[in-house]
């Protein structure tokens, strides 16, 4: 690599997050609007760290009631039966479809937890000004963004189960309060991932150095 290694911010330029045009900002404090698409320009996402912490903490708080509260209530003449997310996983496993049980377990339990831990790790490492393994941390961020949507799986499973099983008085299924908390966890972690700015990972790196490439 012989090309000069410099970021847009170091060159006094700003890159549009919407159309990716690199332009000269209107001012150092207020970069103004993208001349091509009209999006408001920002050197780095505004208040990124604070906003991401707030959203991730809110998601962590919702995660606590999301697990023990029932997501589905099955009502039949024999009585009613409440099912949590883990209960749904165990039902799928015992009824013989372990691949689906594993998929729901990964999407509903492991992905939300992994996302919260990953976002916290990224925030702490950025706040400490870490320059180590920036490439791996950026990759972790991209994974968080890509797989986040899959944790909506259980919300859709519950919705379609409720919609299909309405055979009163024989049997009916109602949504439980857990589903709302669980949906909130998913939406809040997705918003947290969107408000985090991965460029902050690279800002402490020495200018003019193409690290580990």
């Amino acid at each position: 690599m012989t090309a000069p290694v410099i970021t847009a911010a170091q060159a006094g330029l700003v890159s549009c997050e919407s159309c990716h045009l690199v332009s000269r900002p209107a001012g150092a404090e207020e970069p103004g609007f993208c001349p091509r698409c009209g999006e408001e320009l920002e050197f780095r996402r505004r208040g990124s760290i604070g906003k991401t912490w707030a959203l991730a903490s809110a998601a962590a708080i919702c995660y606590i009631p999301a697990n023990p509260l029932p997501v589905l209530n099955t009502i039949s003449p024999q009585g009613s039966d409440a099912d949590t997310i883990m209960g749904g996983v165990i039902f799928l496993y015992t009824s013989g479809s372990w691949p689906l049980a594993l998929m729901v377990l990964i999407a509903s339990v492991m992905i939300p937890l992994g996302k919260l831990l990953s976002i916290a790790y990224l925030l702490i490492s950025v706040q400490r000004g870490s320059v180590k393994s920036s490439r791996e941390r950026t990759r972790l961020y991209r994974i968080v963004v890509i797989i986040g949507r899959w944790s909506m799986l259980d919300v859709f499973v519950d919705t379609f189960t409720v919609a299909m099983v309405q055979l009163q008085p024989l049997m009916s299924v109602q949504p439980g309060p857990g589903v709302l908390f669980f949906a909130a966890v998913v939406v809040l972690t997705m918003l947290a991932a969107e408000s985090f700015d991965p460029r902050l990972i690279w800002d402490p790196a020495n200018p003019g150095e193409l690290s580990d490439a």
Partner: protein, 219 residues
């Protein structure tokens, strides 16, 4: 269309120059490895054809029953909007709105905006309102979760199949087709090429002195 361009990596802000790329080739950031550009193959009309097909498939998927359930002489069927409505009736209003947004509004909006955008992009210069749509398409894409909805339907089907016999409906097949068509639109659509031809919000038609200015700053 091939052209070279200077960009800043969206993930690490490194300024770099993207050379003209052959169709099917991609370029990645030299520092963080993020894919910067994927040059689509095929003609400019292919994304339009795929979008029209996706629009038809989505309309069928949203209106015809996804599956029907039979148990002791009784039967029930549901569509995607119908499932969201049932959640509303059961008192889960917020969840119902979220499901409606991710499974109906975001994908339908994405396909509709792409359709209008691709028709507008047949003109040069591309009108500025089409650029506005191009911005929206990116946001809708994040919340359009049809593939997750599909997996959710399949898991629900497996669970219910323990209690009653369940048959997939025509809506299910159209739903499958939509899920295959949406990523095909994304990979065949050259958004960079549209951005190059768009009328700028400053009212100018590309290229402008500002772009030349940036190019100088990079040398």
């Amino acid at each position: 269309m091939k052209f070279s361009e200077s960009v800043a990596c969206p993930d690490c802000d490194l300024l770099q120059h993207i050379p003209p790329l052959e169709p099917g080739r991609k370029s990645a950031c030299a520092r963080c490895g993020r894919t910067l550009v994927k040059q689509p193959t095929g003609s400019r009309d292919r994304p339009l054809a795929l979008t029209i097909a996706a629009a038809i498939a989505l309309i069928i998927a949203l209106t015809l029953p996804l599956m029907a359930l039979h148990v002791v002489g009784r039967s029930a069927s549901t569509t995607i909007p119908g499932a969201a409505y049932e959640m509303w009736l059961q008192g889960q209003v917020l969840v119902s709105v979220l499901v409606l947004f991710c499974a109906v509004i975001a994908p339908a909006g994405y396909i509709l905006f792409m359709l209008v955008l691709l028709l507008a992009a047949r003109r040069t210069p591309v009108p500025h309102w089409a650029a506005e749509m191009l911005r929206w398409v990116g946001h809708l894409q994040v919340w359009s979760m049809l593939e997750v909805v599909m997996l959710g339907v399949l898991v629900a089907l497996t669970k219910i199949a323990q209690l009653a016999s369940v048959d997939p409906g025509i809506g299910m097949y159209a739903f499958g087709a939509t899920i295959l068509l949406i990523p095909a639109i994304m990979t065949n659509f050259d958004r960079r090429e549209v951005w190059q031809r768009v009328v700028w919000s400053s009212g100018e038609v590309t290229p402008t002195p500002l772009a030349a200015d940036n190019a100088r700053a990079l040398r």
